[in-house]
Amino acid sequence: MKQNFFQTPIKVWYKVLPGRGKSKWPIIDIKLSYKKFSLPQPILALVDSGASHSILHPFVAEILGFNLEGLGFSQKGLSASGDYRYLELPSMNMDINGYKFNQSFTVIDNKDLIWPCILGEDSIFHSSRLDFYKFKGYFEVRFRTDIN
């Protein structure tokens, strides 16, 4: 069995957000850019092991230069809450704590999405080891040394 090697862990503290039960959320700062477009500050991304795809909020996609109306939400998907329409963006640059990746995102036709970004299993779950210690209030990201 091939052994994987990892960078020093990055410790990320959960964030408590408004709502019932003072829920703690595994969220992380990410920087995104596409061609000449970028955001002036990092955005918060929910690290979601239950999401098969990584999702970008339509407003964020527009700031990164994508004409969503022109591209069209032509594809149909199915989630636990029903049907949705979506489109897939070409890969863009993502930076987490200085580690740089190419990442592609799905944009769902839903401007009410509460997260600027959701990192699903097609993202850092491939390039790093993630250990969640919710009971301790943090999670750790260890990027693989063979590809990062």
């Binding site: 709502g19 019932r20 003072k22 955001l39 002036p40 500050q41 990092p42 918060l44 407003f59």
Partner: protein, 62 residues
């Protein structure tokens, strides 16, 4: 450092917000991301991070 509690910082805020690096202050807010970015530009793009402020995150199921 420990768990970051943003409930106080985000109290009464709705829309797109920029939070200071120490998590204690909303630097700017806007109904849309475009508006927020415009405000940040006028402020000289200070350091911080961007998120959406909503009343209740706990209803989200992912």
């Amino acid at each position: 450092m420990g768990v970051v509690n943003l409930t106080k910082t985000l109290k009464g805020k709705i829309g797109w917000v920029s939070i200071s690096p120490d998590n204690k202050k909303v630097l700017a807010q806007g109904k849309t991301l475009k508006r927020l970015l415009l405000k940040l530009k006028q402020m000289g793009n200070p350091e911080g991070y961007i998120m959406q402020a909503v009343k209740d995150y706990s209803s989200y199921v992912g």
